[in-house]
């Protein structure tokens, strides 16, 4: 089980390494409080999972970056890495499609600062579609 998990993490890192996310060279940067990798538990429900091959739960690790990850960047990351089809049915503009609810650690994201919320390690993010037919 454990080697399997490691293998999965490695493949995930390989995938994410080729991302167009702005990554500065950490060695040359003297900023010491560089954000550690953020591991997240993402859930999709109410039909939103159909856009992700029907997979409801995703455990992902976001790649290192200098600035802390916020929800806005997460949405871009999801759009580029997880979404399988019809991105316009999940993301519109730089926020989620109206009618899709977002919960951060089981609380309304409107209480958490919505797009400005800074993601912490082991956060649980849930997307629930309330639209008819998902």
């Amino acid at each position: 089980m454990v080697p399997l998990l490691c293998l999965w993490l490695v493949t995930l890192n390989e995938k994410t390494a080729s991302l167009p996310v702005p990554m500065r060279n950490s060695a040359s940067d003297d900023n010491i409080n560089m954000a550690a990798p953020v591991a997240l538990h993402l859930e999709f429900g109410g039909g939103a999972e159909l856009l992700f091959d029907g997979v409801k739960e995703h455990h992902v690790t976001l790649p290192d970056q200098l600035d802390p990850w916020d929800m806005k960047q997460l949405l871009v990351w999801i759009k580029e890495n997880l979404l399988k089809e019809r991105p316009e049915l999940f993301v519109q503009g730089d926020t989620v499609r109206p009618g899709i609810l977002v919960l951060i650690n089981d609380a309304d994201w409107e209480l958490m600062g919505e797009l400005q919320y800074e993601l912490q390690d082991k956060d649980n993010i849930v997307f629930i579609s309330t639209l008819h037919g998902g």
């Binding site: 159909l50 109206p98 089981d106 409107e110 209480l111 958490m112 639209l131």
Partner: protein, 509 residues
């Protein structure tokens, strides 16, 4: 204009500012977990109380469901109806004073044959739902949409309304008192339990015979042919809703349920209100979106979830682990502009994100709507009701814009305009016909292709217009149409010997 724009911008910016770690507005102690209306933040404890109270208050306020009455819950597996099921369970399990006292049953209509699901997918969804239903111990009925092909045409009849008058508050009170007395005389609380246990034992039997009944061969194909003959998604969704209602109504009648609960949330109803106006269903708007809908006479549809927004429901289901089963429907993964219903939904939800009072404003409007004629006209002839949606026909008024459109449409069509116009007049004003216009009536006697249109309301006409062929319609609709046609023909034939009511009154003066 500029000022207005500026005001909106300020408003929007204000809304975006984060409000981290707010306290609950009710208990003012716990940290809030969700915002319901603009600015109202609740903690999960207070939210649960608020949610449960709302359901009870909705039923208490309207006083439509009598104690001991059989109520059929229409559960689609979606969040709203699943939540409704859990609320009914909650209400029935309560202690004496606040207990709900009706006898519930569940119906699920399996529409997988329309949305192109495979047999395996449908079976999986049904078994998921069955496990939810079994946990409730209520009787349940699993009905495939294919069964519309074996419905009797009596479904389209309007039943005579129940003997009790639901509007009367005092009779409701009397009924409640009587119910409490009888249950006390027997044994506290045992009567409902007995009834329930009897019903559930019945249901196990039924579930084994009815629930897993195989679909007769060819019916899935017939269903697919029917929906393939409909050109637009708008009409498909409309037709599907009509057929679904017929099936639920039929089950309610055969199993002797006098109420059907639908799980429409207020977000859903706001969308329904606007899309129904666009679909030309304005005349039956009050019945389509109100709390209770008595168009079928003997079976009344109630919508107890109409005070909840879809957000509240989604949060409640998430927080308190209410199981719901996602089943793809016709409009799953469809574009915004795929159908009128879909477009209206995206319009309302988009507006709602920027202006959080959108849904409640539309919904409050729907509360104030009433039909012009009082609802007790269930005694009117079935020929005055739409063949498909059973609403009162809105096409028989003589001087409406609709009649003008019809006439201009017929005039613009070159082929034999004269006969058509006359026939149209004949249907729209039977009074003139009876007074002996000989040029008119014979044309109606000629047995030609079935004239469905004259039996439909404006909106259902539009739906049928979008079909390439009407012969794919289920038999019960066609045979009922033929019967109504025969009846109206016979009426015309003997019309010379009928005394007209208006003349009669005039003579008596």
């Amino acid at each position: 204009m500029c000022q207005v724009d500026e005001e909106y911008n300020v408003h929007l910016e204000n809304k975006v500012t984060p409000s981290v770690s707010k306290k609950c507005v009710k208990c003012k102690e716990n940290t809030a977990v969700l915002i319901i209306r603009a600015g109202d933040a609740f903690c999960s404890c207070c939210f649960k109380e608020y949610f449960i109270h709302k359901f009870r208050a909705m039923l208490g306020k309207n006083r439509v469901i009598f104690p001991g009455e059989k109520v059929l819950l229409a559960v689609s597996g979606g969040p709203a109806s699943s939540s409704m099921l859990s609320q009914v369970q909650e209400g029935l399990s309560r202690d004496a004073p606040k207990k709900l006292r009706f006898v519930p049953g569940i119906i699920y209509v399996d529409e997988g044959g329309v949305s192109g699901q495979s047999m395996e997918e449908r079976k999986r969804a049904v078994s998921q739902l069955e496990s939810v239903f079994r946990a409730t111990d209520y009787p349940y009925y699993i009905v495939q949409l294919e069964q519309v092909f074996s419905l009797p045409s009596s479904v389209l009849d309007v039943g005579s309304s129940a003997t009790k008058n639901p509007q009367n508050g005092s009779s409701y009170k009397a009924a409640v008192d009587q119910f409490i007395q009888t249950s006390q005389n027997q044994h506290p609380d045992l009567s409902v339990k007995n009834a329930l246990s009897q019903l559930s034992s019945l249901s196990m039997h039924e579930a084994q015979t009815g629930g897993s009944s195989p679909i007769p061969p060819g019916q899935t194909e017939a269903l697919q042919r029917l929906f393939a003959s409909v050109r637009t998604l708008t009409a498909k969704q409309d037709l599907l809703q009509t057929l679904r209602h017929h099936l639920i109504l039929h089950t309610a009648r055969t199993e002797r349920y006098s109420k059907v609960m639908m799980g429409d949330s207020c977000s859903r109803l706001a969308v329904k209100l606007l899309s129904n106006i666009s679909l030309g269903r304005g005349a039956s708007l009050a019945a389509d979106t109100g709390f209770s809908d008595s168009r079928y006479g003997d079976v009344v549809i109630v919508r107890p979830m109409r005070d909840y927004s879809s957000k509240e429901i989604a949060y409640y289901n998430r927080m308190f682990d209410i199981a719901s089963v996602f089943i793809p429907s016709l409009d799953t993964k469809a574009q915004d502009k795929a159908s009128i219903q879909r477009l209206t939904e995206s319009f309302v939800t988009k507006l709602q994100t920027d202006f959080p009072s959108t849904v409640s404003t539309i919904y409050r409007t729907s509360e104030k709507l009433h039909t012009a004629c009082p609802p007790q006209n269930t005694n009117t002839q079935t020929s005055d009701k739409c063949l498909l949606c059973t609403c009162t026909l809105d096409t028989k008024t003589e001087f409406s814009a609709f009649q003008a459109t019809l006439i201009s449409e017929q005039l613009s069509q070159r082929r034999g305009p004269g006969a058509n116009v006359r026939q149209g007049q004949c249907c729209s004003a039977e009074g003139h016909c009876g007074s002996g216009e000989n040029g008119c009536c014979p044309s109606a006697k000629v047995p030609g292709p079935l004239d469905l249109k004259s039996m439909l309301c404006y909106s259902c006409r539009l739906t049928i217009k979008d079909m390439t062929a009407v012969d794919t319609l289920p038999q019960y609709i066609v045979s009922e149409a033929e019967q109504r046609n025969r009846r109206s023909q016979m009426r015309e034939e003997i019309s010379e010997f009928l005394l007209e009511e208006e003349e009669d009154e005039a003579q008596s003066f």
